[in-house]
Amino acid sequence: MALDAFFGPAAAPARPVRSEPRLVRGVLIGTALAFLAIFLVLPLAVVFAQAFAGGVQAWLDSLVEPDALAAIRLTLMAAAIAVPLNLVFGVAAAWCIARFEFRGKSLLTTLIDLPFSVSPVIAGLIYVLLFGLNGWLGPWLRDHDIQIVFALPGIVLATIFVTFPFVARELIPLMQEQGAEEEEAAIMLGASGWQTFRRVTLPKIRWGLLYGVLLCNARAMGEFGAVSVVSGHIRGETNTMPLHVEILYNEYNMVAAFAVASLLALLALVTLVVKSLLEWRYAGELAASRRH
């Protein structure tokens, strides 16, 4: 403000209307970059530096160790179950919210957002309260020899809960903005419901869908709080990668802890790279679909 008042009168006639003074631009860009460096790049660098502190062999050894392998397998499995289910749910929810008017629609929209506002620890606890031995369904489940919490199903349920909104949240505004004219036209021309969805709707929403799935996947693999509550921490069985990182860290096993952490970070980075690659490859098409 003070700078503007100082330089304002002299500089105003010379510069283009929409451009900021060089100093302001420099400060803004510098601030953004410094923030990125301090809060993102530096920690990431530390993770990888620590992970490779013992050399590449030590890094590899910590990843092929049985408990670590089990954790990686479990994490991928939980994501492989949770993400497709949320994909189906997300599309269904976005479809009905964007295309139909019905009672309780705003309530449904609010409910979809619930996992974002509820603490992950609570998300885990609700499943313990529901399926735990002292919970509503616990005794019945035990009589039928079904284990939900402290086993894979509990971990999957908790993961689904926290990653619930990603796909739907990405699609709802997109589909609302796009409107339903093309679908209506398709149906008028004799397309069946499934044909309309596959040949008209899906191509229109595929970018939003992809973003949603990628974000959902990243969170599914990284979730700690909710999964920690329902995991039971059985080694080689119900420890996911984030839980395994914490355990290794608490065992003074820094190299292994950061090796697993670096793998998690790599998975996240791959997700980002895939997203950027697709964006770059299909830049033209993307711009076209945005024009709707």
Partner: protein, 341 residues
């Protein structure tokens, strides 16, 4: 639309149930399958002990046994067993946590009489971990309340280990002042004023002290202190043994409800009973727990210095009354501890 949502819900539930059914059948290649739910510092001990027991059980009964481990904060672990984590045996940090499982009806109320020595096959005590060369010359409990000495200990409200620390200090002060409770409160209150941060768990406090370099002295279980020295370098820390401390008895118990349902009682009982054999006692000693067997203890006499130790039962009338008196809401800890001071 309704039909669609309903079928979606059915799909979700179906998938969950299918997973449940498969999960309960996995890992059953062995004749019997035990889950030992334990607390944090026992990981290395049980990793070794499980091998020892599996071999022994094979020769004794001809059966194979697979043992799975779960580790975490003692209270959290007890909670998960109450909520249905199917532990055949629990090996936790303090009797109070197993009492909580018993109160939930999952195991016999008289569990502590089932095995010798209060069902605690190995013991430990509370010692001080100080920086190399002991720059603040900390020798005994009195040195912890001196102004300018920073003490690291976790929060007794959330950490089982911290309750031992607190009671060790309190018991020392009682002894010193001829059983005067007011003086003991004064002493522990003074000590807590020297604690810059109360971590929620024992490992967290250890990490604060050794990794983050906070504080002059860490109150720790003897086995934890040994482990920290071993893992992070003998050139960084010294262990100081006070004149008096508490006998820490981490107990073990069979979870009756689970073994009866799974039919694993025999194996579970043998698993805990074998902890008292000379080989297992030797293993415990190697992992820095004080063995109960005199013959093994003698062999490790130079590792574990002799000191005067009082017990929870002797000094505070057992864990239940200690818990109610000191750590319940409004108890002595709440009365003397004011955060941020």
């Amino acid at each position: 639309m309704h039909a669609r949502t309903r079928s979606l819900a059915a799909l979700l539930l179906g998938a969950a149930l299918a997973c449940g059914a498969t999960a309960s059948r996995t890992a059953s290649a062995a004749d019997s399958n035990l889950l030992n739910v334990s607390y944090d510092p026992t990981r290395e001990l049980y990793a070794d002990y499980n091998k020892l027991f599996a071999a022994k059980w094979k020769t004794e009964s001809g059966q194979t046994v697979a043992i799975r481990q779960s580790h975490g904060g003692s209270g959290t672990q007890a909670r998960s067993v109450i909520d249905g984590n199917d532990a055949d045996v629990v090996t936790l940090a303090l009797a109070y946590d197993i009492d909580a499982i018993a109160d939930a009806g999952r195991l016999d109320k008289d569990w502590q009489k089932e095995f010798p020595d209060n069902s605690s096959p190995y013991t430990s005590t509370i010692v001080f971990l100080v920086r190399k060369g002991n720059p603040k010359a900390i020798k005994d409990w009195d040195d912890l309340v001196k102004p300018g000495t920073q003490v690291i200990t976790p929060n007794p409200k959330t950490s089982g280990g911290a309750r031992w620390n607190f009671l060790a200090a309190y018991g020392y002060a009682l002894d010193k002042n001829g059983g005067d409770e007011a003086k003991a409160k004064e002493f522990t209150s003074q000590l807590l004023k020297n604690v810059p941060v109360l971590d929620t768990g024992a490992r967290g406090a250890t990490i604060t002290f050794v990794q983050r370099g906070l504080g002059d002295v860490l109150l720790a279980w003897e086995n934890e202190a040994f482990l920290a020295v071993k893992e992070l370098g003998p050139d960084k820390f010294d262990i100081v043994v006070p004149s008096v401390s508490i006998l820490a008895e981490p107990p073990v118990a069979i979870v009756d409800q689970v073994v009866d349902r799974k039919g694993t009682r025999k194996a579970a009982e043998a698993y805990l009973r074998t902890l008292y054999t000379p080989e297992a006692q030797d293993l415990a000693a190697r992992h820095y727990y004080r063995p109960r067997l005199a013959e093994v203890a003698d062999r490790y006499a130079d590792r574990f210095p002799k000191l005067e130790m009082f017990t929870i039962d002797g000094k505070f009338g057992g864990w239940r009354s200690a818990q109610a008196k000191f750590f319940a809401d409004g108890g002595i800890f709440d009365q003397i501890y004011t955060p941020g001071r």
